[in-house]
Structures are given as C-alpha cells and as structure tokens.
Symmetry: T
Subunit: 150 residues, 12 copies
C-alpha cells in the first residue's frame, strides 16, 4: 500500500474568522467546529487528515512542500489568495497529487474579481458555495479520486 489515504486540509487567509466575520456572507459556524466535522468524517472514512490555517502565503507553500510525500491528496480553501497567488498555484502543481479547491461561498455569484481563481486550473475539481459542508463533500471527492488512481 504505497499510497495510504492521507489528506492535507489547508485554510487560507481570514478563514480563522469564520463564524465571527460577515456572517450573512460566510455563515455562523466557527472554523473550529468545521475542523471537528472534517476530522470526524475523515475518521469515519478511514482517512488520516492534517489541518492548517494560515494567513501567510509563504507558510501555506512551505506546508504543501513539507507534505509532498506524506499526503496523497489536498483540500484547500485558498481564501483571497485564490485570485492572485500564482506562487500558491505553482506549489500545488509541483506536488503532483489530486487537489480539491473549496470555497465556503459561491465565488461565482459575488464580485467580478472573485470569479477568477488562478488556483483552479491545477486542481482536479472545485466545490464552491456549500459553507462548511463543502469540506465534507471534498473529502468524499478526493477519496474517490485517490481510489481511482491507486
């Protein structure tokens, strides 16, 4: 079993404020609760997860690099970095494993500039608009892909 089911979950800038900021836009559930849900669902699915939130592009890239061999898949909500961080994109492309992009809101029904993600082209797919529940869907999605490619 060369490639165990291990998934890295990354939350980008400002996601630590989930549940505290603009609740009409982002929902009332704090990130801690969402992380609990992720861990529980992952446990049920037999997936090992590591979760990190960071407001620093550099730290997110470092973390991706460090998990190059540990992880078999990545779930990432790049937050505001989605729209300009080609460095983050390059990091995800470099580690060559299935990446699922998650957004809590439907970025395609918001401001014009949010409708373009420079991250998407290096992901296998995107799940956007389903609040914290989107991470759970992403777990299922990345597991489905990892199974297919094992």
């Amino acid at each position: 079993m060369a490639e165990p089911k291990r998934v890295l979950v990354l939350h980008g800038p400002n996601l630590n404020l989930l549940g505290y900021r603009e609740m009409n836009v982002y929902g009332a559930k704090p990130l801690e609760d969402i992380d609990e849900d992720i861990k529980k669902r992952a446990g049920d699915m037999g997936i090992e997860v590591r979760i990190l939130q960071s407001n620093s592009e550099g730290q997110l890239i470092d973390t991706i690099h460090e998990h190059r061999t540990w992880a078999g898949g990545i779930i990432i909500n790049p937050g505001g970095l989605s729209h300009y961080s080609i460095s983050l994109r390059d990091a995800l492309a470099a580690v060559r494993m299935p990446v699922v992009e998650v957004h809590v809101t439907n970025i395609f029904s918001r401001e014009e500039f949010r409708r373009t993600s420079v991250i998407s082209p290096v992901c296998i797919g995107i799940i956007s608009g389903f609040g914290g529940f989107g991470y759970l869907l992403a777990l299922e999605a990345v597991a489905d892909v990892m199974e297919a490619t094992v």
Copy 2:
C-alpha cells in the same frame, strides 16, 4: 410537510454521449449508469428524483417551469449552454429554489471560454471536475441546503 425532498436532475446538450465521446476528457461511464447511481443514492437518502437529458434549451426551460411546484431543488449540468444561455439562467432564477450546478470535467482547467458560466450566479453552488461522482455530491449538497431552509 409543505416541501418534500424532491429533486429535479437535468443533463444539458451532448451529455447523452457520456461514455461514448472523448473518453479521455469526459470519462468512460455512460449516462445511463450515472443515472442509475443517482437514483440509487437518492433512494438511500429518501429523496425523490426525476431525471431528464435534452439537447434543446427550450425543452430544458419548459421542464424547469413544469417542476416549479413539484421540486424543492435542482441539480443541473448545463453542458455547453453554461457559457451563453441567459434564457436557461433566467429560468433557474425564476423558480426560486436551491440549484446546484454540476460539471463532469473541471471547466476551469479547460479552454478559456469554458471558464465562465452564466449559470453559476443564480446557483447556490457549483461542483466541477469529479466525473459522474459529482452528481452524488450534488445530491448531498442540495439535501443539506434543503434541510437548512425547511
């Protein structure tokens, strides 16, 4: 129970060729098998589904109108119509229920013109890139939203 869990699933133009065309892009699973998976998962979740594939924009709009009161949610893969059919968009906006947009491929890693969906802004969310499995994720997503809004 004014709003039972009834979901309309719509496949747009050319999706009837799934499994037959450009399998390297769209995968090898025929639409019939995907529909079977949808029905089975829906059954497990206690959701009643109706599924339609059509190559005609007009027929898709008619079907949406006809299910205005029957359905509590819509899952739609608009196919090529995603990129220009403002009429389809208006139909989905008109019926005022949660709509989930599904794409078999990751439209954001393909040709430039596929990266803009005129449908997305009237949907609650989008799931793109997970093949036929995306419809099953969409079922979960729409159910989650319908529960929240009941």
Copy 3:
C-alpha cells in the same frame, strides 16, 4: 390595400412566468392579462394581432418565418435571447418589416450583460422599462411606422 395592419406579437423564454416569478423585478401582472390588454388595444386600433410565447429559439424563428407574408409588423420581447441569439436576429432581419423590441424591465439599469441586445440593431426601435404597458406603446409605435411606410 396590399399591406393590412397585421401585427405578430412574440414573447420569448420565461415570459410565461410573468406575474409568478421575481415580482419585484418583473411586476405582478400575469402574461395572460397583458395579452388581453394587447388584444383589446389592438382591437380598438383596428389591428389584427397574433400572439405567441415560446421558450424555444427555434420555434420563435419558425413562427417569424411563417408570418413573413401575413404580418406587416412585429413586436417582440426576446427575453434572455436578447443577449446572444444571433439566429433570432437574423430571422428578424430576414423578414424585412418593422420590428419593435420590448422589454418589461429597463434592461439598461440591470446587470452589465443585459445592457447589450444583439436584437436591437435590426429593429426600428426599442421600448424598455414600462412593464406590460410597454406592449401597448409598441402597438402604437408599430402602427405609426406602418402607416408611414404604406
């Protein structure tokens, strides 16, 4: 009297939901009532009208073709097709009679993409923003033009 005053009135996609959908945007008057108003006003003006609503671009084009010799003028609300249907535009240009474009809402004060109509350049004029009453203004306008060109 080679050219009797006969006017074809066409309602494009989703206009059948007038009075049922997004009433804050489109008003509360159902299409049936608007059609009654049109018929009544036309009767008062000695104009013969035929009215069709369709969600199908193809059917709208077919209808225009079929009335090439019957009608002396056309009133059309192209709905969402306004913004992309060059086929509908070509059909209207082909039948070479005065066409008046009507929109229930003021399309120029809505989303950016609604501000361009590919239909307008082949019409003699446009009336936009006056709800169902716009059709009655259009009747007067088309009659005025038909008189001038008889």
Copy 4:
C-alpha cells in the same frame, strides 16, 4: 393632490436642428412641430408640460434642479450628452422622480459609441427609434408610471 401631473420635457444638444440636419437620419419634422404635438397630446391627457431645448449641459442641469418640486416626471432626450455626461445623469438621479429617456433614432443600430447611454441606468425606461412620435409615447409612459406611484 400633492403630486399634480406636471412633466418637464428636455431636449439636449443639437435637437434644435431637427428637421434641418441630416434628415435621412433624424427625419424632416422640425422641433417646433414636435413640441406642438407634445403640448397638444399633453393637453388631451390633462398633463401640464414645460419644454426646454439647450445645447449647454450646465443649463440642462440647472433646469432639472429648478423643477425638482414643480415636476412629477421628466422626459429627456439627452442628445450627444447621453454617451458621457455623468453630471447630467447625477442631476436626474438627484431629483428622484420618474425619468423617461427618448431618442429620435434607434441609437442601438448606429455607431458603436452611441449604443451606451450613461443616462439610462437612472431612468425608469427608454423609448428609442420612433422619431418625434417617441415623445408622445413617453408622455403616455410617464403618465402611467406617475399614476401607479401616486
């Protein structure tokens, strides 16, 4: 009767040359005759009108301001100012009453730069392409709206 039916009619730059200039484009009817038609129709409808033509953006804005309390509605043909005068637009938005934009020609079938009116988004509607007759339609339109909002 706090809001009597009083309508301000404004003709922008160069409209004083109607009937004298480029008759193939703008028609042969002089502005004086059109104004007579407007007054007559207004009289028939029990509407009090004041009509002004000016080639000066500043004077048009001043006039709008001065009629803030007198008028219940405005009909304006902004002429060439349509395409750039954000100041005129702001003036119309400021006086918060129904405004109908009229164009003698169909501005949407002419040069590209004429297809965008910065005035339209602050109007309730637009009537374009029906020559001097368009003003009479505008009278009916503004009256219809004023009735609805009384």
Copy 5:
C-alpha cells in the same frame, strides 16, 4: 469497406430563406436548388448524402448524434449559431469525424461579431464566401480528407 463515403449536410437557422431574404447579401438561389446541386454532385462523386435544414439548435444536435455511425463526414453551415452555440460545437467535436464549415457569405468581411465562429476550432477546415457553390467545394474537400483517413 468499414467507412463508406456517407456525408451529412446540415443547414442551420434561417438558411431555409435563402433566395428569399436579403438577396444582395445572400444571393438569389433558393435552398432547394442548392440542395439539388449538392445531391447531383455527390451522386457524381459516389457519395451518399443526407441533408437537413433546421432552425432549432437542439434538432441539429440530435441529428448529428443520430448520424454518428452512419456518416463519415459532415458539412455544416451553422448560420447564426456559428457565433455562440458551444453546444453545437461540442456535438461536432463529440462525433469525431471530419467536419467542414461552410458559409454562403464571407463572414470575415461583415459585422465584427460575425468574424468569430465558435464552430471553426473543431472543424478540419472552413469554406466561406462562395455562395451555394461553397457546398460543392466542401463535398470535394470532405471527400479528399475521408480518402486520406480511410
């Protein structure tokens, strides 16, 4: 002889009016006569043809699908659909056989919006500007390609 020379010829929206509409632009030859020319030339070349004209995008797509195995090549004049119908494009790409795009007029010397065809990138070639004669050239072209690929 696994791949007999069978060619599907498709005429898109409004082409049924050829010979009746805007003859200065589209020429005076009716579509019926053009179809006769096609059949005669095809007969001379030993090619079996089926010809369909439709104003409905959906019907054109259905027809393409239905001839997936029958035809070895397609000649299509997409009419106004050329400029926006990504669904039609996807249908042509899906059936994986040589497609020749024909236009009666030279679309590159007309309005700006006619200069972009979303259909062209999935065709082997384009023939534009030679009136009804272009279909006969297309027959030769598609036959030449089919021979090369047999």
Copy 6:
C-alpha cells in the same frame, strides 16, 4: 510675500443639492453649512478663501483661469465631471498651483465608472470619502503644501 495663502474652493455639478438629494449616499449636511465650515476653518488658519459652485464646466474653467494669479492653491470637488472632463483637467494643469481633489463619498467603493478620475493625475493629492469634513482636511493639506513650496 509674493504668494499669499489664498485658496479657491470649487464645487462641481449637483453639489448644490447636497443635503437634499440621496442623503443615504451623500449625507444630510447642506452645501451652505459646509461652506460655512470651510470659511470658519480657513479664517482660523489665516487663509483667504473664495468659494464657487457651478453646474457648468465652462464656468468652472473660466473661474479657474480668472484666479490664476489670485490663488495659491485650489480645492476642487469636480462632481460628475471627474470622470470625463479633460477640459477641466487641462484648466487645472494650466494654472500650475497645488490642487487638492475632494469627494464627499468614497468614489472607489461605488460604480465602476466612478473609480476613474481624469482630474487626479494633475492634482497633488486626493481626499475622498469623508463627507463635508473632507474639505477641512483639504484646507490643511493645501496649506501644508503651500508652506513647503513658499
């Protein structure tokens, strides 16, 4: 003392309606009161001010020209002219003295077209978004610059 502290304050089109129009956007303080505040603060600072409001681009330009030698600095709120009046820009550039651009609202958080000021590149700075108080800040700013350049 070749360059006394004399400042010309200019209010562009529609600013005379401050306190009367769209108070949710522009605030409730009438221009007269703002002008009083300006005069008072200027008096405290030992600055001589002249204040003009005009809805006419020509009159604003004339006034700037006339104060070429009198004034040592200009504070201008160009209103809607900000977005297109290159003539006003040229007038300000021509008189070669420090100009401060003021906007009552934050023009960068409003409609897209308000985010570009053709006036800004010829000003030393901009103060936008602080209501009538912005003029007082501008007084301090222009005084600071005038001192530095004396």
Copy 7:
C-alpha cells in the same frame, strides 16, 4: 457665387491661455498673436474669417449653429473637448460643411487618452503638431477643399 469663402475659426477650452500655460508643451505665442496671423493670412487669401474662443461646450455648439448659413468652412481646435464631446461632434456633422481639426501639439505623441479624437471622424482632415502655424495651414487646406466643392 452662392458660397462665398467665409470661414469660422473656433478655439475650444483653455486655448485662451496659449502663451501663458505650459509653454514647453504649447509654445510661447499668445492666442491674440495667432489670431492676428490668421486674420492676416485670411485677408491675403481673400477669405472672410470670424474667430471665437470659448471654454463652454454649449457656446461652441451655439456658435456653430448660428454660422450654419454664413460659413462655408470651419477650422476648429476643440482642445480637451476633442476626447469626449460627442455633442460638439454632432454639431459639426449637422452643419454639413468642410471642417478642419487643428491641434497645436501633436496629440498622437502625448498621453494615451489624447490619441483619440471623437471629432476627427466628422472632419475632412486634421492638422496636428505645428503650433499656431497649424491654423495657417488649415486655412489653405479648407480653402483648397472649398474651391473643389464650389
């Protein structure tokens, strides 16, 4: 001699400051001197001229209208209005006589926004970059055209 050689010369906004403002850009010769040169050269050529400078778009348009029958040609330096005043353009197009556009500087080697003149398309020609001398060239040019069309 139905069309005597009478030429209207118009200077737009800020040209009254010629010789006083930005002399490195616009040259050191005052407008009065240029006007003297124009009158002298016109006298030598047997041309009657009237010259007006105005900072007001409205006044420029009024003046053009008033000289519709008097003048046989127009020389205009529209100043900053060149780049946006469609009203001025319409006025020049309306009076249907040869118009020569003059610019003191070479507007095509300055800021990007100065490279587009909305006035040019309604002129017979443009002379740009030769300082005050350009007006004298324009006199010759308009005389040459007027001769040809007499």
Copy 8:
C-alpha cells in the same frame, strides 16, 4: 473576350518550406508538387496561371501591382503576413479583382493570434484547412466567380 481567365497564385513567407518544416502541422507535400497540381488542374480548366512564392512583403505587393491588368483573379496564401500586413491588404483591395485567400492549415483551430486575418475582409472568400488541396478548390472558386462577373 475582354477578361480572359488568368489567375495569379501567390505563396507568402515560409511556404517554400512546405514539406520540409513541421510536417505534422503543414503536411508532407513539398510546394513544388503543389504547384504542379495547381498547374495541371488549371490546364484542365482552361485557366492560365502564374505562380510566385516570396518571403518579402514588398515583392508580393509589387507582383500584385504588376499583374493588375494581366490577371482576372488572385489566389493568395499570405502565410504569416495574414495577421498584420495591412500593406498587402491594401494592395489586394487596390487591384479590384476577385481574391481567394487560402491557408494550408485551419488557422481558426490554432493559436489565438492566427485566428484574425487582416486580409480576409478584402477577399471574396476563404478556404482554410485542406492542405495543398485547398489551392485546387480555390481555382474552382475563383473560376466560378470570374464566370459570374464576366
């Protein structure tokens, strides 16, 4: 017989390398062989041809000028010049005879910049994507047009 059937065939830059360069893109047939095919087909059709290949824009223009009276039609593959040479375009427009544009590849399915030909608008038609065979189709096309216009 004032206008004999004489056709000038021009190959632009780099076409001399046909059969030698990028054969997967441009095919394996050398230009010499294609020219032989052209001559043979022309002979069969009773058309006199002259053929020139040049890598020099100037020489191509000179050749077009020199054949102004000799030729009754032109077939040109402008190669890379298609996308920028307005000089070549002007030369073709100047000689006022039917011109057919040929491309060996389908330029509309290649890089974005190849999809616009500045040559096309002055041609009667375009044939693109059929390799060397396209020249033979062009011969038929130009002959058909020349017959119609004799």
Copy 9:
C-alpha cells in the same frame, strides 16, 4: 464608553525605507519621524495608537485580526499590496470598523497599475498624495467618523 478611541496604524511593505529610498518620489522624512508625528498628534487628540510596519502580508493580516476588539478604527498604507492583496482587503472588511487608506504619493498620477487599489472599496475613504502629513489628516478623518458612529 464601549468604543474608546483606539486606532491601529499599519505601514505595508517597503515603507520602512521612507526617507532612504527614491526621495524625489517618496520624500525625505524617515518613517520614524512620521511615526513620532502620528503619536504626538494622536496624543493631542486623546487617541491611543499602535503602529506597525511589516513587509509581510500575513503579518499585517494577523495584526488586523488581533486588534479586532482593541481598535475602533484603522489607518493603513498598504504599500505595494494595495494593488493585488485581496487577502488584506478581506481582513479589513472582516473586522468591520472604519478604515482609512493612506498613500504617501498621489497614486493616481503614477504608473497605470498603481491607479487601482483593491483595498479602497472596503475603506470609508482615502487620502493620497500628502506625504507623511497624510497620516495626520487620516487621524482627524478616522476620529471624525468614529465620533459620528459612537
């Protein structure tokens, strides 16, 4: 007194070099001196300030988050981040307090790319072009707003 006057002042990337770099552009005053001025003026106004300079987007965001409850207002000079850091923008929007954007130079008279700030739309206002003095104006501005909203 639930909301004491406490203001966070943030200097973005490279502002630590103020007084050392490109003094002709940014002025000769070192950041330390500007900070002293800020503290002194704040003291005079009874405002408590905390000041941070950082070249790291992540650290700036962290600092904003940490002061969510401490601060009643923010003054920020985002430096180069102004033009792309949507993450910084989201951080400022998330903490829901008045933010004033300051720039030492007039960013609207510099390179094109500096004229758009992605930060501005989430601020109450902007002060740009007044060197270090701009921070003092910002203190007054933010105090004025905080008073109004207490």
Copy 10:
C-alpha cells in the same frame, strides 16, 4: 550654413497606384502629378527635395538611413505600414530630425484599425485628409520647423 533645407519625401506601399485605385477614396490624381507639384512648390520655397516611393519596408528604412546626414527633414506617407511597422518608426526616431506624417485620406474617419498610427508618436506632426495637397502643406510645415530649429 550647417543645415541646408533639404527634405526627403517618402511614399510607402501602394501609393504608386494613386490615381489608379479606388479613386472615390484616394482621389484621381496620379502620384507622378503629385510629385511634380511637390517639386515645384519646393523649388519656389528654395527647398531641395528627393522623392522615393517603395512597397518595401526594408527599402524605406535603408533610404531613411542613407539620408541621415543629407536631409534636414522628412515628409512621409507610410501607407499601410503606418499601422504596424515599428521598424519604420524606429528608423525615423533614429535619424533625429523633424518628420511630418502625411495621409491622403483622413485615416481617422475610416476603419477602426486605420485610426492608430505607430509612426505618429515619433513625428512632430501629422497632416491627414487633404489628398495630394497635404504634401504641399507638409512642405510648409517642415520648413517652418526647420527654420525655428536652425
């Protein structure tokens, strides 16, 4: 007399056809006659001229280089090269003498692509729209500049 009045006159591609091609656009006067007019006027003004027409960009550049020391000024009608030949532009900029750009037609009232000249920014001025007479105006203009700079 270090800088005698010697002027190089260059006609770009296709100008040799003047008087033969599209006379409604370019006029009926052959280039030979225009050249005679130029020589005669130059003689009257005491200017020595050399005139060259070429369809080759390379030859035009060579000629400019060769006249670097001979000529004191250049008059050039770049023809179609105006719109793309940055090489020609660089050649003109390199020889550092006054250049006047001439166009026979008013390029600003023709097709969109003709409205931008890459040559203009390196010229002292432009004269466009006065037919062959424009060269004579250019002679006067270049002489006026050469005098000023002697």
Copy 11:
C-alpha cells in the same frame, strides 16, 4: 574601493523544489547543485555571493532591505511572484542597484499569465529560458554592469 563586487542571489517561491517537480518543465538539476555552480563561478570571477531561497514574499523583501549596503548587485528569480508582487518590485527599485531577473524556463513561451513580469521594469535586464545555466550568465551580466558603473 567603495563598491566591492558583492552579489545577492535570491530564489523565490517553489524554487527549492527544482529537480523534484515537473522535471520536463523545470529540468532535473536540484537547486543545491545550481547553488554550488553559482558559488564556484562567482569564486572564479572574484565575486562574493550570498544565496537565499524563500517561499515568503515578506522574507524576500526583508532580505533585499538588509543587503542594501552590503550588495552591489542582485540576481533574482522571483518565481510565481514575478507576475503580481508589486511589493517585491518596489523593494528592488528602492535599493537602487543593478538587478538581473532570471527565469529557469522561457516564461514567454508558457501560459499567457506568465508572459508579464511586474518585476522586469525595475531590472537592468532579464535572462530567461536557460535552466540553471541562466544564473551563471546572470553573474557575468551583473559583473559587467557593476564594472561599467564603478
């Protein structure tokens, strides 16, 4: 010897993965080996080097600042930051010494968004496409410039 030859070499985000990621794109040589080559060549040339790789924009900026007086030149491969980091650009511009931009791949033959570097305009030159060897060329280039400016 006020300015010794000391060069700072900076590797931006993801370059630490060189030799491990996408080797078909970036080559198989690890960064450690490239750094060894740089040090060796620098030693041969008598240049003192310091080398840093970082995934953090902030750390790169800090490092540049810290070497303001130590270094006489900078070699930087900004990685993905090339395309958006105006902060990094400002840091390089601020330290006022020769900067050479290096890219391992030819960024101009890759995706559209990689073809624009916001860094380039503040560098003396760019070397792109020569793999790790490009750093050695950059050493020579920066030395050549430093010699010229000593």
Copy 12:
C-alpha cells in the same frame, strides 16, 4: 559529428545604427565593434559564426532558410520586427534549432508595445538589457544548449 557548432547571428532593422542613434538608449558601441567581440568570443569557444544585419524582413527570412542545414543554432536580435513579424517567427520555428533572442535594451522597461515579442514563444530563451554584451552571453547560452542536445 553530424551537428558541428555553427551559429548564425542575425541583427534586425536599424541595428546598423547602433552607436550612432539615441546613444542614451542603445549605448555608444557601434555594431561593427560588437560583431568583432562576437567573432572573437566565438573563436575562443570554437564556434563558427556567420553574422548578418538587414533592415528587410524578407532578407532575414531568406537567410534563416538558407542556413537551415549549415547552422546548429541561431542568435537573433529582431529589432522592431520583434513586436509584429509573425513571418519571422514562423521562419524561426520552421528551421527547428535552438534560437536565442537578444535585445540590447531591456524591452520590458520601455513603451508598452515593446513588452510583447511575437518571437519569444519560438525561442529557447531571451537575453535582454545588457547592451552588446548580451550577444556574448547568448553565445554561451546557445553553446550550452547545443551541447546538451548533441
């Protein structure tokens, strides 16, 4: 040794004026001296070089074709042709050998239109901004690549 180290060096339009024109931009070293440097360095490296300068696009293309078998690599400074000559690009792509693009200046810090080279995408790399020294770097670069591919 099928592929000896033979390199073709091409200088495009206006490079013959190096050392004579705009020395502040292009440097004071004449092309002859640069060519001497190239020959000397090539000799030292055991590379055989041929060098050509031409102002003619056609001649440059011809020369590239003629050296298809002789040369193993090309160094080209396309001068102004860089920005539009797709014909030159196609010639370089056709000969299928490593090409290095050189620019004497840093084209990315100059006018906007110079920042795009249509040549770059078919080169292995670019060296821009190092004056005549750039050719020597290019020699090293092309040699390095040729070694790797032998």
